[in-house]
């Protein structure tokens, strides 16, 4: 990387990507700002949390202030076909998806890397809180951002070596408060914008209503049963329930009952008492190892079973078929099929896969 390098920066109008762009400009690179226009439900385009006309206008102003060109790109169709459809399909299959993880690899890096290449840019930069480190063999490691509370390496666990070789995360060595302060000092309009939280295309609405509008098939009533198969009531469709849920089941029982399993084969919602919740083992599929090296032996590591979950010590057992079993010391209540399990050793993110099933073996 030298001073003449050209860098495409993904801009959203938010404080993080704005500061990322500003830092690269300051370091003397030739910077090109780009924004992806993603799909929103018809009628809610103004509420999409990252690419509304407002955030595009804001990005334009920031780019103008930084003296860099800025372009917005239409990725609506691809986003609808690949990410929103995945989201709907996963819920319909009784799982709980994480579209951001998939979007990063397929849409953000997929589209923008191609643009970086087409424009002769050397790198793609984003405002993610993560770091990169080169190993002795030239491979790139994905490292947590130093601001642990903001670390976003989880969201980047699907990126390939090719992606990482050409990526830059200018905020990886900064804390969120330092980023905000810098935005203030540099007079970037985005300094006080709230962080985006929800899925962008849900536009702050409940995902169940979104599913009903966009995939009416998720309304698929069936039986609520206990472990022994005794029918206790009716459910509206497995997509509307989550493992561990207690309220809103509409069944009366002397003891509190919880959703302990979503049996999509029989379209049954299995409930049980609190102690039946939890499993100490999960199996992950579609596992992606960032180093590209499949570990041969089981090893211990720290594991996150969802983005904001705490790291938990576990034994990671890679299988010949590419699946990975992860065994915890104590049962966990909220292992959720469809979410991504991401593995860490120290501050390094080793990779991740999608949770296929959970069970108890102890």
């Amino acid at each position: 990387m030298n001073e003449q390098s050209t860098i495409v920066v993904a801009m959203s109008g938010g404080v993080d990507s704005s500061v990322a762009a500003a830092l690269l400009v300051e370091q003397g690179y030739r910077v090109i700002g780009m924004m992806l226009r993603l799909w929103s439900e018809p009628g809610s385009e103004q509420s999409n949390t990252c690419c509304t006309p407002d955030s595009m206008a804001l990005s334009r102003r920031i780019a103008a202030k930084l003296g860099i060109p800025f372009y917005s790109l239409d990725a609506k169709e691809q986003f609808r076909n690949e990410i929103v459809q995945y989201f709907i399909d996963e819920y319909a299959a009784g799982r709980t998806p994480n579209p951001c993880v998939v979007c990063n690899r397929q849409i953000k890096w997929g589209v923008l890397m191609e643009w970086a290449h087409a424009l002769g840019a050397d790198y793609l930069a984003t405002g993610h809180y993560a770091r990169l480190r080169m190993k002795d063999d030239g491979r790139i490691s994905l490292i947590k951002g130093i601001d642990e509370s903001k670390d976003q390496s989880y969201m980047l666990c699907r990126l390939s070596q090719e992606d990482l070789q050409r990526s830059i995360f200018p905020l990886g060595n900064m804390t969120k408060s330092a980023v905000r302060e810098l935005a203030h000092i540099k007079g970037l309009a985005a300094a006080d914008r709230a962080d985006s939280q929800d899925l962008c295309f849900l536009a702050h609405q409940d995902y169940r209503q979104f599913l009903i509008r966009n995939s009416p098939g998720v309304i698929h009533p069936g039986e609520i049963v206990d472990r022994d198969g005794q029918v206790l009531g009716k459910h509206q469709g497995l997509a509307f329930y989550t493992i561990g849920q207690r309220k809103g089941l509409g069944i009366s029982s002397p003891v509190p009952l919880y959703v302990i399993e979503k049996d999509s084969i029989h379209n049954r919602l299995v409930v049980g008492e609190e102690q039946m919740l939890g499993a100490d083992t999960l199996v992950a599929e579609q596992f992606h190892w960032i180093s590209n090296n499949l570990p041969e032996e089981p090893f211990t590591a720290s594991v996150k079973i969802r983005y904001k979950a705490p790291e938990i010590h576990a034994l990671v057992v890679p299988h010949q078929d590419g699946k990975v079993s992860i065994q915890f010391e104590c049962p966990l209540r909220d292992i959720t099929p469809g979410q991504w399990v991401v593995i860490y050793q120290g501050d390094e993110c080793l990779g991740g896969g999608v949770i296929a099933s959970e069970r108890s073996i102890k």
Binding site: L36, R37, P69, Y71, S72, L73, D74, W115, A118, L119
Partner: protein
């Protein structure tokens, strides 16, 4: 050369706007802080300003072959279109019960959105003339469709997206014979074609200065003395009471000078433009498979070449061109990243997919043969990139 960070960046989007000519700027400057009077004032400062405005009006009128008081100063070409269309349609509705508007499907939004508003809000019946595959209107179709209750006919002089020039004099003659007011949007045409309202039988001609090396924010409407019109913006008695508001003296002075500079040299410049334009058209059609010319091959603006490319997203191509050092445009100039196919391109029979792959190259006074040679060398590779991207 525009102000960009690239060492070499070539502007090929003169249909969007042009730089203000240096002589024009020099003419304008004294009217900002020296001769700052209000032309409506009685005192000497006002008289100086008034003289400048009226001299400008006379200058434009001479070029158009009109009377000075037939030239009305406005804020831009769009405003001129609005004034003519609203003014004529409404007064004819009130006085004669006219309720028919005849126009084309290839108008600029300044016209099309205005007549659509008249139809939706005031009940005018909007009729669209057919156009051929080049976007050209057949005068005989006008003959067939004008009616006793036609409030106004509006046909674009030369199309901004596809460059096609309409047979304005013939259409104007038909309208004159049938006593129907005739408006034409001359915003693009006035920058490259010799304008003459008598020759062309025009009742209303809308122009904007920034297309012909004048400043942005000023335009004029030629309105024939006997043509029906009413005020759209009311207030003071400026501009025959048709366009109230203090005159923007420096911009008016600049526009008159720019129009003069443009019109006296337009035939001579056209030769240079046409030779470059035809090189572009010939080279692109020969060298790039799946490319098609849009608009008429010869009856088109001298500086205007426009195309569609199969399997290309026009927006992508514009980004690639910009970063390769060329500022161009597409039919659907859209910065939002969610392009819709241009209505003009659909009206000439292109499929929505093909219409999205449009490119417009418009030349200016400083465009050189070398720039065009480089452009033509670079373009095929960028089209290739854009096609790869569209098929991901």
């Amino acid at each position: 050369m525009a102000m960009t960070k690239q060492a070499v960046w070539v502007y090929l989007d003169h249909a969007a706007t042009t730089p203000v000519d240096g002589d024009v700027v020099a003419r304008m400057l004294p009217y900002f802080s020296e001769n700052y009077g209000n032309p409506s004032s009685i005192h000497q400062a006002g008289q100086i300003a008034e003289a400048a405005v009226e001299e400008s009006r006379a200058k434009i009128a001479r070029i158009l072959d009109s009377e000075p008081d037939e030239v009305i100063f406005t804020g831009c070409g769009t405003e001129s279109d609005n004034l003519a269309l609203n003014g004529a349609a409404q007064i004819n509705r009130i006085k004669k019960g006219a309720r028919h508007i005849l126009t084309t499907p290839v108008e600029h939004h300044a016209v099309f959105a205005t007549v659509r508003h008249l139809a939706e809000r005031y009940g005018f019946e909007l009729e669209l003339l057919p156009v051929d595959r080049f976007g050209m209107v057949d005068p005989q179709e006008v003959e067939k469709r004008v009616r006793a209750d036609t409030a106004i006919t509006s046909v674009i002089y030369a199309n901004n997206e596809i460059g096609t020039i309409n047979p304005i004099a013939e259409i104007g003659q038909i309208c004159r014979e049938r006593e129907v007011p005739f408006h034409t949007d001359g915003v693009q045409a006035a920058a490259y074609l010799r304008m003459n309202v008598i020759r062309d039988n025009i009742d209303y001609l809308a122009c904007g200065a920034h297309k012909f090396y004048g400043p942005k924010g000023v335009g004029f409407l030629y309105c024939r003395k006997d043509a029906p019109i009413e005020a759209y913006q009311t207030g003071g008695s400026q501009e025959r009471g048709l366009r109230a508001g203090t005159h923007n003296v420096p911009l008016i002075v600049g526009m008159a000078e720019a129009f003069y500079q443009t019109q006296v040299k337009c035939q001579k410049r056209a030769e240079t433009y046409i030779s470059l334009r035809d090189t572009i058209i010939k080279t692109i059609l020969e060298n790039i498979p799946g490319s098609h010319l849009t608009g008429h091959p010869s009856q088109r603006l001298p500086n205007h070449a426009s195309f569609v490319f199969e399997g290309v997203n026009g927006n992508d191509l514009l980004i690639l061109l910009d970063q390769a050092g060329f500022g161009c445009s597409s039919g659907s100039a859209c910065k939002s990243g969610s392009p819709k196919p241009s209505e003009v391109l659909l009206a000439i029979g292109l499929s929505p997919e093909l219409a999205l792959g449009s490119l417009r190259v418009t030349l200016g006074r400083n465009t050189t043969q070398d720039q065009i040679t480089t452009f033509l060398e670079v373009l095929p590779g960028l089209i290739h990139h854009a096609r790869k991207m569209a098929h991901r």
